[in-house]
């Protein structure tokens, strides 16, 4: 008797809920593919301190060069400007003026055939190197930087931060 009642109740419930369960919702996932430039920070640089008056990203002096990757999905749509630091964005109070040197080079490219001339065709003005991105794909830029304290005075103890500026600008 009990089983019969349970069977009837179960059947009724299944009939009531069936339409609800069958009415599944489609959840859309939308996406648009369009041209873009993506700047990726691959490696943040580190200053080594080989002597009291020099900070440098040279690996032999304990530093690390900053590496940035730039991806473009449309040829001839963007150019990139990479600017090595010419001042500290934060530092302790300094006893003298600092002389800066810096340079950017192409480290790796994803398409050697169409990007192989990026380094030779770059335009340099001051600490900024300008690259014309004529092909789609990825380029890794490596930036070195050195800061030398005037009068061979020592850098005071503390934290020093300098900024590499990477710009991707539509043509």
């Amino acid at each position: 008797m009990f089983n019969k009642k349970m069977f009837v109740i179960g059947s009724v419930l299944s009939v009531i809920t069936a339409p609800v369960m069958a009415n599944a919702e489609d959840v859309p996932i939308n996406g648009t593919v369009q041209s873009r430039c993506i700047i990726q920070t691959d490696t943040s640089g580190v200053f080594g301190n080989p002597n009291a008056y020099t900070l440098t990203t040279t690996p032999a002096d304990g530093g690390q060069k900053a590496v940035t990757r730039v991806d473009t999905t449309l040829a001839n749509a963007y150019y990139v400007e990479v600017t090595a630091p010419s001042s500290f964005s934060s530092s302790p109070s300094l006893p003298d003026t600092v002389t800066w040197t810096g340079d950017t080079t192409v480290k790796t490219v994803s398409d050697a055939t169409n990007m192989g001339s990026y380094e030779t065709n770059k335009v340099e003005f001051g600490m900024t190197d300008k690259y014309d991105l004529t092909a789609t794909g990825s380029v890794w830029f490596e930036t070195s930087s050195s800061a030398t304290m005037g009068g061979n005075k020592a850098f005071p103890g503390g934290n020093y931060t300098a900024l590499v500026n990477v710009e991707c600008i539509a043509k």
């Binding site: 873009r36 700047i39 990726q40 943040s44 963007y78 300098a162 539509a170």
Partner: protein
């Protein structure tokens, strides 16, 4: 061996990216008289950056007045944001670039940090 190298690349080198689209936005009349607007989208995959500054410039990189919800947008890691930029009709002909620039925190521990700026161009 190849699989191992690919695996190591995926595991060892996280990607920190900044992107803004479209490359060539269009200015269209807004719901206000003499004001044009465009819509931009940004994606933040830089876990060291939480704020981006928006700017509009002419061809000589002089700033052009514009209005958006916030000139400095807070965009958390892996966050997307779509924002409207409004420009006066009188400035539409001069507006050339719209840019987003990463803002680094002063207390960042990175010794040589990387600031990124992406500029789209009105055509």
């Amino acid at each position: 061996m190849k699989k191992l190298i690919v695996l190591l690349m995926l595991v060892s080198f996280p990607v920190f990216a900044h992107e803004m689209t479209p490359t060539y936005p269009k200015l269209t009349p807004s719901y206000m008289d003499n004001v044009y607007k465009t819509t931009m989208e940004m994606f933040n995959k830089r876990n060291d950056v939480e704020y981006y500054e928006i700017g509009v410039f002419d061809k000589d990189w002089n700033p052009i007045p514009f209005v958006t919800s916030y000139k400095i947008i807070r965009l958390r890691y892996l966050g997307h944001v779509t924002f409207d930029v409004f420009i006066r009709k009188a400035d539409v002909g001069r507006a050339e670039y719209i840019c987003s620039k990463s803002k680094l925190r002063k207390d960042s521990n990175t010794k040589t940090a990387i600031t990124s700026r992406i500029c789209s161009r009105f055509k």
